[in-house]
């Protein structure tokens, strides 16, 4: 089906969302999942696909998990507290 979404398409959309929110809002996996289902539609994008997309983002090192009172997904960056 030409219309079928791939894991990479969802991962790219998630990455763009994380990039544009960087410095303003930390996003949790659930925020990404809800946004993707809304963006692509529930008939094309489901929880399983989102889970795979997050896995792909993390395993490829494009994103990392962070912790600030809860777990978030962010683009890798140098922490202020980690001295050079």
């Amino acid at each position: 089906m030409a219309d079928e979404l791939t894991v990479e398409q969802v991962a790219d959309a998630m990455y763009n969302m994380i990039k544009s929110a960087m410095g303003e809002k930390k996003l949790k996996p659930m925020d990404l999942q809800k946004a993707m289902i809304e963006h692509f539609g529930a008939d094309r994008c489901d929880k399983k696909l989102c889970k795979e997309a997050i896995k792909s983002l993390i395993d490829s090192s494009r994103c990392v998990y962070t912790y600030f009172g809860g777990s978030f997904i962010e683009i890798p960056h140098e922490e202020g507290a980690a001295k050079g």
């Binding site: 949790k28 996996p29 659930m30 999942q33 889970k51 997050i54 896995k55 993390i58 395993d59 090192s61 990392v64 998990y65 962070t66 912790y67 600030f68 009172g69 809860g70 777990s71 962010e74 890798p76 960056h77 922490e79 507290a81 980690a82 001295k83």
Partner: protein, 402 residues
């Protein structure tokens, strides 16, 4: 302090009991990290403020849990604890080790970290205290080579833990070790890739004595119980009495359900009123045993007082058979997670979520039949107001029929 003197900590080292200060001092003899840790702690005691920053981006590739970032805000004074990350290691189920396994962990940690450990943290994991960011991947690689994996941290399933269960305890009503191992293996993704509003803890207790305190410390407490009658050996009860146990006062009198009576010859138990508290069984272990139809009570919602106050778990399923592949339990977990992930607020534990939406609404949403056992406290009113379950117009129909 930076000059190596620790007068305040030394006071903690003077009592007769083992002190963490003594252990850090021993480690400091060969670890500069531990030496600086003492200095930093002395500084905190002097200034009455903490010098640690918690959290951040540290971790190993692919995992969102298992490493807890720590940096100090005074790296110039104590450069060896500039990074002092903690690693949580998934403990063997029931905390059974060989001495070789313990030596392996300690060797890895002395090579790459401070050498300080905490056996075990409140979730039950092996906690390794203090290492640098660049050491995390080498440690992970060496640990996995030896068959160890990281545990949970952050907003994920925390390392499931269990009491020693049938391995050493005659009261275990199900195989806690097997269930704990199964849950750990089934929920690898949920353990290592945080996707929940906040943490979620499983604890498996084999009987209502609840040696792992699951009712107070786990989001999902799986506590062994039975649904038939307590097994009684009347001659053994008599023997306890003959040897001086005041059965009426010390056993019947302390029964919270007041469901038993002793006439000097025979112990009568009204099993329908029994709350399975185990008091009588603990008092007369040779005479009483749990029933033969065994399983577990599934409870939900306890937590320590971090965001809101402390909560104890509430009964969700009064009795569930606990046999592999535990499909009924897993289906229940997934229903709970689906709802909590969808509707829960950030940093809201599942117990707080239930409190916010109401137990009745929660049960309806996860498709569980309300039961009179789902009470806040024993012998209290049920959560469920059954009149809510009347369909609209029921009253009118009934009135019309009159």
């Amino acid at each position: 302090m930076a000059n190596g003197q620790t007068p305040k900590l030394d006071k903690l080292d003077k009592g007769p009991w083992p002190s963490f200060v003594r252990e850090i001092k021993r480690a400091a003899e060969k670890s500069p990290m531990s030496k600086d840790l003492l200095g930093l702690l002395e500084l905190s005691y002097t200034e009455k403020i903490g010098h640690w920053k918690h959290g951040g981006i540290v971790g190993v590739l692919g995992y969102g849990g298992g490493v807890i970032g720590r940096y100090t805000d005074v790296p110039d004074k104590f450069p060896n604890v500039e990074h002092f990350h903690t690693m949580r290691i998934n403990m063997p189920t029931g905390w059974f080790y060989t001495s070789k396994a313990l030596r392996t962990i300690c060797d890895i940690w002395e090579k790459h970290g401070s050498g300080l450990t905490n056996m075990h943290g409140s979730t039950g994991d092996i906690v390794l205290l203090g290492t640098r960011t660049e050491e995390l991947e080498p440690i992970f690689s060496e640990l996995t080579k030896e068959g160890f994996d990281l545990g949970g941290s952050g907003s994920d399933v925390r390392t499931p833990s269990a009491c020693v269960g049938p391995a050493r305890c005659e009261w275990a009503c199900y195989d806690t070790l097997a269930l704990c191992y199964d849950l750990t293996m089934t929920y690898q993704d949920e353990l290592h890739r945080p996707a929940f509003p906040y943490k979620f803890k499983f604890k498996c207790a084999g009987c209502p004595n609840d040696c792992v305190a699951s009712v107070a410390r786990a989001d999902m407490s799986i506590i062994g119980t039975w649904r038939d009658d307590i097994q009684v050996d009347q001659s053994a009860v008599k023997e306890y009495s003959d040897k001086g146990l005041n059965i009426q006062k010390d056993v019947c009198g302390n029964c919270p359900a007041k469901c038993m009576d002793w006439d000097g010859q025979k112990l009568d138990i009204d099993n329908r009123s029994c709350t399975r508290c185990m008091h009588c069984i603990n008092a007369m272990p040779k005479a009483l045993r749990p029933g033969k139809d065994r399983g577990a009570c599934i409870m939900l919602g306890s937590k320590a007082p971090i965001v809101e106050g402390a909560q104890l778990s509430s009964v969700l399923i009064p009795f569930m058979k606990m046999e592999p592949p535990y499909q009924e339990l897993k289906d229940l977990c997934e229903k709970i997670w689906d709802l909590w992930c969808e509707e829960g607020k950030s940093r809201e534990r599942v117990g707080e979520f239930i409190k916010r939406v109401g137990m009745g609404n929660f049960l309806e949403a996860i498709d569980i039949e309300p039961s009179p056992y789902q009470v806040a406290y024993p012998r209290d009113n049920p959560y469920i107001f059954y009149e809510e379950y009347f369909e609209e117009g029921d009253d009118e129909e009934e009135a019309g029929e009159e």
